[in-house]
């Protein structure tokens, strides 16, 4: 299983846009193989556009996305689907579909013209469901599940594709904090166990720092900074990318950078947190983190 050469993904001189509006102008990037890459940036900075272009959903007007060194547009889309899996931001499930049925559809790129189920298919499905912990709810309809369970089922569907690369567009957006961490922990499991290359778009900078091995910070369709979260997330970069004044302190749990927004109305909560003297007790920091994630999460979708 591990013997095969891992698939690599990169992009050269990309320009992408919708209709006349160009969103990404000239972007080159190399996704590190076997690591978790997180793309961050303000709304409409082009991070979803980049992810969709990497997943061949959008065709670049200039430049190429390279999968294993070959232009992704020149590879048959079904072959791509055996190397690269995608979980879009809001996938739709047909009404009444059961968990096992939905996960099974992830086998589409590996089946022939008319679907014929083999033992291998069943094992792949069972394996995907086991690693996402949804085997026990195999016969339940999707509509009855909680948001977190549902997201795990969709991830299972992408896993059933058995790809080395997995792209996820804001997989935590509609989830509460507990389920956000559940999904992110799952992604780390998948990365650690099979050395899967995972690329995801996240809104929460603190989560991005904690779960990402490699961070790509984007602004106005270009990459501002990329690399190890500790090097990328500085007060200057956050100020530049988000236009938000912040303090960056070490995450009291993981030691990764933690962003504490200052905001314009900090004076209003003067009596609660003195502005320039952050007391570094873990409890205060966690509260600030919760506030930060509240601010970073998008509300407009």
């Amino acid at each position: 299983m591990e013997a095969e050469v891992e698939d690599s993904l990169s992009a050269e001189n990309l320009a992408v846009g919708y209709d006349q509006r160009e969103i990404i102008h000239d972007l080159s990037v190399r996704i590190p193989t076997g690591r978790i890459t997180v793309i961050v940036g303000a709304n409409a900075c082009g991070k979803s556009t980049l992810l969709k272009t990497l997943a061949r959903l959008l065709k670049p007007s200039r430049g190429t996305v390279l999968l294993d060194g070959k232009s992704i547009q020149s590879i048959p889309t079904r072959t791509v689907a055996t190397k690269l899996g995608l979980l879009p931001q809001s996938p739709t499930a047909p009404e009444g579909i059961t968990v096992a049925d939905l996960v099974g559809r992830g086998r589409y790129p590996r089946q022939g013209w008319i679907r014929q189920w083999t033992k291998g298919d069943d094992e792949a499905i069972a394996d995907a469901m086991r690693s996402t912990d949804v085997l026990e709810i195999a016969d339940r309809p999707i509509d009855e599940l909680s948001g977190g369970q549902r997201q795990r089922v969709w991830i299972a569907m992408a896993l059933a594709q058995e790809t080395d690369i997995l792209l996820l567009d804001e997989p935590t957006t509609f989830l509460d904090l507990t389920h956000q961490f559940e999904v992110l922990d799952l992604l780390v499991d998948l990365n650690k166990r099979d050395q899967r290359t995972i690329v995801l778009v996240l809104h929460d900078l603190n989560q991005a720092c904690r779960f990402g091995d490699h961070l790509i910070a984007m602004k106005d369709g270009a990459i501002v900074a990329e690399g190890d979260p500790r090097l990328v997330i500085t007060e200057e970069v956050v100020q530049d990318v988000f236009g938000l004044a912040v303090k960056v302190i070490p995450d009291p749990v993981a030691g990764t950078p933690m962003v504490v927004p200052i905001g314009r109305h900090t004076t209003r909560t003067d009596q609660v947190t003195p502005e320039n003297a952050p007391e570094s007790t873990a409890a205060k920091a966690l509260a600030a983190s919760a506030a930060a994630s509240g601010i970073c999460r998008p509300t407009d979708r």
Binding site: P76, T82, P88, R105, M129, D133
Partner: protein
């Protein structure tokens, strides 16, 4: 993780769950087929000259006497068969439309396809003075042209299902007003003839109708089998479908063409028999508990609706014979209202 069933591996559990789903589909389809056959035999036995159902079955399998054979095979069989084939085609067409658009409102008789066919047929009857096959031919042309226009107008970097439905309803409205205009210009007798066509009727159908319908269904069947597999993937949303390696636009176009062809030949043979394509697929999906299009069950359900409606239309009111479209309308319209009311409450597209 807690242990599952002790004697089965997870893979076997998955395979078993799938077998159960497929079995349910098969059982529902067989039961529907049996019911359709029963209605079919009853409708062949009724009429001015009543024939016992047993004799009808015998005759169908080549064992009847000359008189029954003439009545059954010559007089009644074409009409009954046309009804069933029209139902099959409409049921499958509706199933495809509703799954492609992910919306229970999307059926060829809600979005413009059948209206387009009607407008062309009325034009043929009223303005060109045509009858029979020529009217059917123009109805098919009308359906295809409408669908083509609809697809073009809905196109913007691919076709979104919502836009397709809205554009479809708009085109339907245009086609309907065109039909009304043509009718007001027509002489009364001609207008009446056109009106009968417009309600959808199986009166006086002969073997030529059966042949053209059967031919279309036989030709399209393998294509349907191939494309339904893709329809299941398309249902997961465009982006997921792309991610799974489906050529989304091409598959969608293929499916729409098939669905339009099915609706077009059915409309050409019997006029716009309303609401069949609209009600049959949801009932089939509900019976099979299938999240997918449930093609076979939808087709059979369509056949059942048409066959039963025609039976009612012919015999329920004694001497007065109604066009089959009146009865299907009586069944379908309340369902449309229910669906609209429910959609309104949920506040979504279904």
């Amino acid at each position: 993780m807690a242990s599952l069933t002790t004697e089965h591996t997870p893979a076997q559990v998955i395979a078993h769950a799938r077998a159960v789903r497929q079995a349910r589909n098969l059982v529902v389809s067989v039961v529907l087929a049996v019911i359709v056959f029963a209605i079919f035999c009853v409708s062949l036995s009724l009429g001015d000259f009543k024939i016992p159902v047993i004799d009808v079955v015998k005759t169908l399998f080549g064992g009847g006497d000359k008189a029954t054979e003439f009545i059954v095979n010559r007089l009644r069989l074409p009409r009954a068969l046309t009804g069933i084939l029209v139902g099959l085609a409409l049921g499958m067409s509706g199933a495809i439309f509703q799954s492609v658009a992910r919306n229970p409102l999307a059926s060829p008789d809600i979005i413009g396809v059948t209206y387009g066919a009607s407008a062309f047929a009325v034009f043929a009857i009223v303005t060109l003075g045509l009858t029979g096959t020529a009217v059917s031919g123009l109805a098919i042309v009308g359906a295809l042209l409408t669908a083509f226009t609809m697809y073009l107008l809905a196109w913007r970097r691919g076709v979104s299902s919502y836009r397709l439905i809205l554009v479809g309803i708009g085109i339907g409205a245009i086609a309907t007003s065109l039909t009304s205009y043509l009718l007001t210009k027509a002489r009364v007798e001609v207008a009446q003839q056109a009106l009968i066509w417009l309600t959808g009727s199986l009166n006086g159908r002969d073997w030529s109708h059966v042949r053209s319908l059967a031919f279309t269904l036989v030709v399209l069947a393998p294509v349907i089998v191939l494309l339904v597999h893709r329809l299941r993937i398309l249902q997961l949303g465009d982006e997921t479908a792309y991610g799974l390696g489906l050529r989304v636009e091409r598959s969608r176009l293929g499916l729409i063409v098939i669905a339009v062809l099915l609706a077009a030949v059915a409309t050409a043979a019997a006029g716009p028999v309303g609401f069949v394509a609209f009600v049959a697929p949801p009932i089939a999906r509900w019976l099979t508990r299938s999240p997918g299009p449930a093609m076979l069950a939808s087709g059979l359900m369509g056949a059942l609706v048409v066959a039963l409606s025609d039976l009612v239309a012919q015999h329920a009111l004694g001497e007065t014979q109604l066009p089959v479209g009146v009865v299907t309308g009586v069944i379908g319209a309340p369902y449309l209202m229910f669906l609209l009311a429910r959609t309104n409450r949920i506040g979504s597209g279904g």
